[in-house]
């Protein structure tokens, strides 16, 4: 089935390159949902996610000549979306840093501890009782990751991408990318610790 989709995509790409603009519609309609899921997980809100989806398909259209016919269009546009989303995240961080003054620097800077933001946001264990709070806490923890870490965990965990594929988006090498994935999980783990420990204590009956 995946082969057939890829073959059908290749035909649509050829037709688009031949000047049939509407053939591109098939590609947009077929891959929008996948790109949207990636974009939402990267950006954390619907509005930005939809922007990323539209911009990604526009960029893919403009670069279609560079698309190697033997590659998979779905994978290709997914990568364009990941690249664009990481740029948007970096831009967002820069804008926030500028607004908050010179003390806050860019991503991956040694002086910055993104987890501190999560800890500040952490509600007391009593307030973290249900899955909605869990999701909120995780959302804050994801937002506190650097753009590279967020991209790495989204692509690795949710979309099952290989390290090489993630490394291509991060413009990094395999070892550094593995480290980025590890750092992302570690930071999420620390941020979620109060909630997890509370649940474990409750499960073991030692709370109190």
């Amino acid at each position: 089935m995946a082969d057939e989709v890829a073959a059908s995509d290749a035909i649509a790409v050829r037709r688009t390159l031949g000047g049939d603009r509407d053939a591109y519609r098939v590609l947009v309609e077929r891959h929008s949902q996948t790109v949207y899921r990636l974009a939402y997980r990267m950006m954390g809100n619907r509005h930005d996610a939809e922007d990323v989806v539209q911009e990604s398909f526009l960029r893919a259209y403009q670069k279609l000549k560079q698309f190697a016919g033997d590659a998979n269009f779905g994978t290709w546009v997914y990568r364009i979306a990941a690249n664009y989303a990481i740029d948007r995240l970096r831009q967002r961080n820069t804008d926030e840093a500028r607004r908050e003054g010179p003390s806050k620097s860019g991503e991956d800077s040694p002086g910055l501890d993104p987890l501190s933001q999560v800890r500040d946001l952490s509600p007391s264990p009593e307030r973290l009782a249900g899955s909605a709070q869990l999701a909120e806490q995780m959302k804050a923890a994801l937002a506190a990751l650097s753009p590279a870490e967020r991209t790495a965990i989204v692509m690795r965990h949710w979309d099952g991408c290989g390290i090489e594929e993630i490394a291509a988006v991060l413009k990094s090498n395999s070892n550094a990318t593995k480290n980025t994935v590890f750092r992302a999980v570690q930071k999420l783990r620390r941020a979620m610790a109060p909630f997890v420990e509370r649940n474990e204590a409750r499960a073991m009956g030692t709370e109190g």
Binding site: I11, G19, R21, E29, R30, E50, Y61, L64, H157, L188
Partner: protein
């Protein structure tokens, strides 16, 4: 016993460590590392619980509507775009329509100049009604061929190349009629033609040989959207307009209701 590091356990979870067998053996024996791995796993559980709002089934269509005006024309190799068979066919159709409209306009009311314009508009509409009716008839045939095609046996591929060629020709025609329907303010017809266009494009852009499963997907889509039914409803409306030219175009309530039912 030397415990495994957090990094090793996360790598193990993702299947990325070289010492996979050794770590698996260690986990068999070491309850503490198993617990540590379970704690790491809770992070992934929490990630999986994060919802992604469903943008809706029509999301792809909405994306297309937003970006289509911004795409601009791709510079095709000119001979491909200008002399593509379907374009020539459609162009021929439009030229024939214009000539017919012109001749019919001259023929019907040559001696009452003040009414010429209104009459010509009527004639144009009648020609459109006839032409779109024929187009829908041809489209109906293609859809029926697909719906009634025998199911494939096992994994034997199904060749749809003939239907595909017809779908390619119809796409171009369909686009012109949709645009005309929009210009004439016939939203109902434009909307059905839009739905048809998407399915025709799907057929035209499919590989010539489909597995039974892929073929079934296209067939189910035609069924799920009730396209054959919609085509017949619009066709029936056009037939009524042919026999009663003063009838309003298809924005009536009953048609809207029929469409919603499908």
């Amino acid at each position: 016993m030397k415990h495994r590091t957090e990094e090793e356990l996360i790598g193990y979870r993702f299947g990325e460590v070289n010492e996979r067998m050794e770590i698996a053996a260690h986990l068999e024996e070491c309850a503490e590392c198993r617990e540590e791995l379970a704690r790491i796993e809770t992070v992934f559980g929490a990630l999986d619980a994060m919802p992604v709002p469903d943008p809706g089934e029509e999301y792809g269509r909405r994306v297309w509507q937003r970006i289509a005006p911004r795409l601009g024309r791709r510079r095709a190799r000119w001979w491909e775009s200008q002399f593509a068979p379907q374009r020539l066919l459609a162009l021929g159709g439009v030229v024939a329509l214009l000539i017919l409209a012109f001749v019919a306009g001259r023929w019907t009311k040559p001696r009452i100049p003040v009414r010429d314009e209104a009459d010509a508009a009527k004639v144009r509409e009648r020609v459109l009604v006839v032409a779109v009716g024929e187009h829908l008839g041809r489209t109906e045939m293609v859809l029926m061929e697909l719906e009634n095609a025998p199911a494939g046996k096992g994994q034997k591929p199904i060749n749809i190349s003939l239907t595909q060629r017809r779908a390619e020709d119809l796409v171009e025609e369909n686009r012109l009629y949709r645009q005309t329907a929009l210009n004439e303010g016939d939203q109902a017809m434009a909307s059905t033609l839009d739905e048809l266009e998407r399915v025709l494009l799907d057929i035209a852009n499919s590989p010539e040989e489909l597995t039974p499963a892929a073929f079934e997907t296209i067939r189910k889509r035609i069924e799920a959207q009730g396209l054959l039914f919609k085509v017949r409803v619009v066709k029936q409306g056009l037939d009524e307009r042919k026999s009663n030219p003063d009838a309003k175009p298809a924005e009536n309530k009953s048609r809207g209701t029929e469409r919603n039912k499908v």
